[in-house]
Symmetry: C2
Subunit: 178 residues, 2 copies
């Protein structure tokens, strides 16, 4: 059986629901602390997409108020689980990276040493900040015996390390030349 095309946001949400029912708010806060470093989502996408998924029969809402505080959690339906598995389990290539910092460094490199150095510093600082954030999450990642998230976290850390080291090295080169 074929499933509807899933938007990236739909994939994030289905993936999150894969480990149990969640509210829109939950999804937002979990993505902010996990997938955010390679794919972010905002409320403006999450809530409407949850409704679309419910309409499409991939997720089922349940009203689940906490005291007087309203709350709607969504659970994967069987079809939703199938769609999630169909996505993760079959090849499909929407591989496209985006990184505005690299874009800036690219053009800054043409604009003279000082501008280049400045852009490198900014990029390095960004990657170091992300590293800090990712390292903080480590303790939360390998909870529940699931190894997956911590693998990907380790990947993220390696990537940002590579990037920040590259910036530092290049910076040294540029500064030596001055």
């Amino acid at each position: 059986m074929r499933y509807m095309e899933l938007s990236a946001t739909a994939k994030v949400i289905l993936g999150m629901l894969g480990s149990g029912p969640k509210s829109g708010y939950d999804i937002k806060s979990i993505t902010d602390r996990s997938t955010r470093f390679f794919w972010a989502a905002s409320y403006g996408q999450i809530y409407p997409e949850l409704k679309r998924l419910a309409e499409a029969g991939l997720a089922e809402p349940t009203s689940d108020p906490q005291g007087g505080r309203q709350r709607t959690t969504y659970a994967l339906t069987a079809a939703g689980r199938d769609a999630l598995e169909a996505w993760t389990g079959s090849p499909g290539i929407h591989h496209e990276l985006r990184d505005e910092g690299s874009l800036k460094v690219f053009f800054a490199s043409l604009a003279g040493e000082e501008v280049f150095a400045q852009a490198l510093r900014e990029k390095r600082d960004f990657h170091q900040a992300e590293l800090g954030r990712l390292r903080e999450i480590i303790p939360f990642a390998d909870q529940a015996g699931r190894k997956g998230p911590s693998d990907v976290l380790e990947y993220g850390i390696g990537l940002h390390e590579f990037a920040s080291n590259w910036c530092s090295d290049k910076l040294k080169e540029v500064e030596r030349e001055t």
Copy 2:
């Protein structure tokens, strides 16, 4: 002086025009061979954005037909050059990465060894294909004595190497466990 907020597409275009007047078609083919690995642009963005930049006084169009083949090249105006320098030369953080392949690996890691392995293979293959593409460009990158583009190319190569090695290593780990 402050300049209009530049969209990412505007930044790509201004950056490209920084090294001389170009047509929309030129910009598309150059980005496809250079910035594409961290920021792509389509005709549907490029042509309208060129018009907006012209209206805003940052770029100036010149009709430049080649035989009976029409062609409009755009050149940076003084204001356009200022805007480009203002962007590259001042800090500003829209650092946000996007990589749907990592997203898939992240959720695949929760879906069992075989699915995880499959996603890792796909991601690895993508990074290796990109590596091939990037290595092909090397000869074109350091033309004209400008070192910048080849620096960033080297960065891209390093990044994809890291990513594809990580996938290979993780894949071996997973396969050993099976």
